[in-house]
Each structure stands twice: as structure tokens, then as C-alpha cells.
Amino acid sequence: MIELIQVSKLYPRGRGVRDVSLRMEKGDWVLLVGGTGAGKSTILRLIYGTLRPDSGDIVVGRYRLAALRDSQLPAVRRMLGIIDQDLTLVEDRTVYGNVALVGEVLGWSKKRTKRESLRVLNRVGLHAHLDRYPTKLSRGELRRLVIGRALVAQPFAIIADEPLIHLDRDTALEIIELLSRIHAQGTAILLATHREDLFTRQPVRKLHVEDGIVRERLR
């Protein structure tokens, strides 16, 4: 469960988000839609803790973020699969290496790291590209790679910031289809996008973010 309770975060120049409240349960698929600078990314960053709210509280699973020290935030991120807008891939690691990084960070054995990494790479359709480097992948394959990395630790929710940006329509639909399969297996998805028109067949709930305010409430 992820819940934001009257969360505000204002930047020095006035932008940010104000009094955001939302709640999503296991299995939900929520779209944060809105233009550039509306505050979508800020909401996501507040959830995975790279931003701290000025006021309000955020609950992720059993953690209340306001009560957590910075050193405890990794425990929250380990429950989530985070897809950053910048993708944040390690260019000198192969496809396999980027996914295996999760197991290495979590201190898994080599055997477990390999097993889980191959499992997700197979799931996202990159099993044939294990030894390729990110610079040699297409945009669609890069999205698949970051989705795969987000899935390795079997998170209860995927937090994705603009995963469809810079993709042509067909590739974007492929990525949505991949996310649909992940969602169908019980993983919640919170996705920020300005391409909500592509989500025609998915059971998504849309929240409009405008000038830092969420216009519709989920529940």
C-alpha cells in the first residue's frame, strides 16, 4: 500500500506539489497525468524518498517516511521497483550486469543473483541480449531493461517516471503491453506520463496533476 497524506513540497521558485493525498493498494494501476513541470515527478520522488516533503506524511508498505531517517530509506526503495525518467543505467555494465546490480547491492549469492536476473530478462524479452551494452540497445530495449531491473527484487509496486517518453507509438504500446503483463501478475503500478491516450485497454485510474495539485482523488 502506498499513501500520501496531505503532502506538500515546494521548490524555491514556487513550483512543487501542494496538499497531495492519494492512496493505492496492491494490484492498482494509477496514472499520474499532466504536462511538463506539473509535479508528477516530484510526487514519485517523494514516494521513493529522494525528496523529503515539507509537510504531510507518506506511507509505503509498513514504513511512514516522515519517521524514517535517511539511512532507512533504502529499505523503502527495496520494496519498490523504481524506473527513473533518465533511465539511470550503468553504461559499462552489460544488460545482464545492469540487472544483476540489484542482487549485488542486496547482498544475494551469485547463484541467486544469476537466477533472478535471468528470470526477469526472460520476462522482459531481453534474454538474447545479455552481453550487450546499453549504448547498443534501442530505446524500446532500454525501457525493457530498466523495467527488468525494477522487477528483480519482486517489488509490490513499480514506480515509473515517464517510461514512454521519446518512444514511437508502436514501441510505447509494446512497453504498455509489457507493463500490463506485470500488472496482471499482481504488481501495482504508479506511472507518470503525459501520454495517457495510449492506455485504452488497461484498467488504469487517472490522476490529473496540474500546478502541483492533484485534481482527482483515487478514492
Binding site: P74, R78, D84, L101, L106, T113, V152
Partner: protein, 281 residues
């Protein structure tokens, strides 16, 4: 994978990832390390040169006329003084021979009797010779019974010492100036090199890595950069010094200096990498 293994492997990757920036950082650390070696070697060589120059100075204590029979006793007494390396006995006969060697036979031949006094030449260990020390020694030896006068080249010694002190001061000031500039530039170059790992650092944090899992490998990467710089700099400078140490004025490389000059860049590598650690929670 163990935490130590992760730190080592990612540290090595961090160093390799730095590419051209890393190569420049290694180079600047090597220059710094080499400079430390050269500077320390120059200081040691200056000390050696000063000692060699001053060790050429000696005291000559003249014995009162008609008391030459005490020469042996006086010589033994002087040999027991601290830091005395050698006492040479110059009796009247030997004094005459030395006079002839320097000035010829004519002058001495005009005299019926040998007027030259017996004396004792006192030489000290190289490391203990200073103008002040020899002045004190001259005073104390003059006080001895049967010694009429003690002579030595005090003024020249003081000039040599002053020159040595001034050279050392100039070298220290110039060295400190270059060192400070070099350290600042080096820290910046290491920082630029370490910043190439920022994407990696963000990736580790996004997948749930703890801060120490980011900081330790970045610091380790800086340490690798420093280690290579130190090895190259200290290695080249040490080898050159060793090759030149055939000259009597240059000391062979001091292993302690080489180790320090090799390890200093490691410390700078770690400190230089520090500002690249992610600030966000």
C-alpha cells in the same frame, strides 16, 4: 557477493570508468607524488651537502712552548671528547715539515731554531659539526692546561651555514607553494574523474543501495587512482634519484619517503572522490 568484494569490484570499475579524466587524475597525482619525492630528496641532499662542507672544518689547538711533552696526554684527552672522530698530533718536527711543504725551505732555513709550535688537529664526526659547536669546543679546549690558542675557520663556517639555511628556506617556501597548488588541482582532477560514476551511484541508490554502498566504492575508486599515481610518481622519481645518487652530493632514495609519497596520493584520491558522493537522501 560480500560487502568487501562489492566495494573492491565497484571501486575498480569506478576507476576504469573515469577514462580520460581518470588518466589525467593519475597523471596529476603522479606529478604530485614525484614532486614530494624530489623535494624530500633535495632536502636530504642539501643536508648531506652541508654536512660534507662543514666536515672539512677542523680545530687546531696549539701547545704552549716548552710543554710539547704533554702532546700525547692532550691528544688522549681530546680523543675522549664527544663526537671527536680523529686527533692528529703535529709535533715541532712535523710542524716544520708542513711549513716547508707550504712555504718552501728558504724562510725556515734563515732561522737557527724551529720556532713553530706543536699542535693538535681535532676532527669531528660529520653530523655533529656546526659553527656554534666548534666555537664552544674551541673555547673549552683553549681552557685546557698547556693549550695556548685554538684556531679554526669560524667565519667561513658561518657563511656556509647561513647559505644552507637560506637555501633550505627558499626550497621550503617554493615547495609549500607548489605543493598547495598541486594538491588543489589534483583534488579537482580526482573529483572530475569520480563524477563519471554519478550515474552508477544513482542506479545503486534507486535499487535500494545504502549510502555506504555508494561511498565506499567511489572512495575505493579514488584510492585506486591515487595508488597508480603514487606508484608512477614515486617510482619514476625514486629511480631517477637512485641513478643520480652515484654523485657524492645526492643521497639515495629514502624508502620511508617513497612509501609516504606513494601513499599520499591514495589519501588525496579518497578525499578528491568525496565531493562526488550523492547528497540526496
Amino acid at each position: 557477493m560480500s560487502a568487501a568484494g562489492f566495494t573492491l569490484r565497484e571501486g575498480w570499475r569506478s576507476h576504469r570508468r573515469s577514462g580520460l579524466a581518470g588518466a589525467l587524475a593519475v597523471l596529476s597525482l603522479a606529478v604530485l607524488s614525484g614532486f614530494v619525492c624530489v623535494f624530500a630528496g633535495a632536502q636530504q641532499s642539501l643536508t648531506l651537502a652541508r654536512q660534507r662542507l662543514l666536515s672539512g672544518f677542523e680545530l687546531e689547538a696549539f701547545v704552549e712552548p716548552a710543554r710539547e711533552r704533554l702532546l700525547g696526554v692532550l691528544a688522549d684527552s681530546l680523543r675522549r671528547r664527544p663526537d671527536v672522530r680523529e686527533v692528529v698530533v703535529i709535533d715541532k718536527q712535523r710542524a716544520a715539515e708542513r711549513f716547508v711543504e707550504r712555504h718552501g725551505e728558504e724562510i725556515l732555513g734563515l732561522l737557527e731554531e724551529n720556532p713553530l709550535p706543536a699542535s693538535l688537529i681535532v676532527r669531528y664526526r660529520r653530523e655533529s659539526v656546526t659553527a656554534d659547536r666548534l666555537a664552544r669546543e674551541a673555547e673549552e679546549i683553549t681552557e685546557l692546561d698547556a693549550i695556548s690558542e685554538v684556531v679554526y675557520e669560524g667565519d667561513v663556517m658561518r657563511d656556509v651555514e647561513e647559505l644552507s639555511v637560506r637555501l633550505r628556506l627558499v626550497a621550503l617556501a617554493a615547495g609549500a607553494f607548489v605543493l598547495v597548488i598541486s594538491v588543489v588541482l589534483t583534488l579537482q582532477s580526482v573529483r572530475v574523474a569520480a563524477r563519471t560514476g554519478r550515474e552508477w551511484a544513482r542506479a545503486v541508490m534507486l535499487v535500494g543501495g545504502r549510502r555506504k554502498q555508494v561511498r565506499a566504492p567511489l572512495a575505493m575508486g579514488g584510492a585506486f587512482t591515487g595508488l597508480f599515481g603514487g606508484l608512477i610518481g614515486a617510482g619514476i622519481a625514486g629511480s631517477l634519484q637512485w641513478l643520480l645518487s652515484g654523485s657524492p652530493w645526492i643521497v639515495p632514495p629514502d624508502p620511508r619517503v617513497l612509501v609516504a609519497a606513494g601513499l599520499l596520493p591514495v589519501l588525496l584520491g579518497v578525499l578528491g572522490a568525496a565531493p562526488s558522493w550523492p547528497r540526496e537522501p
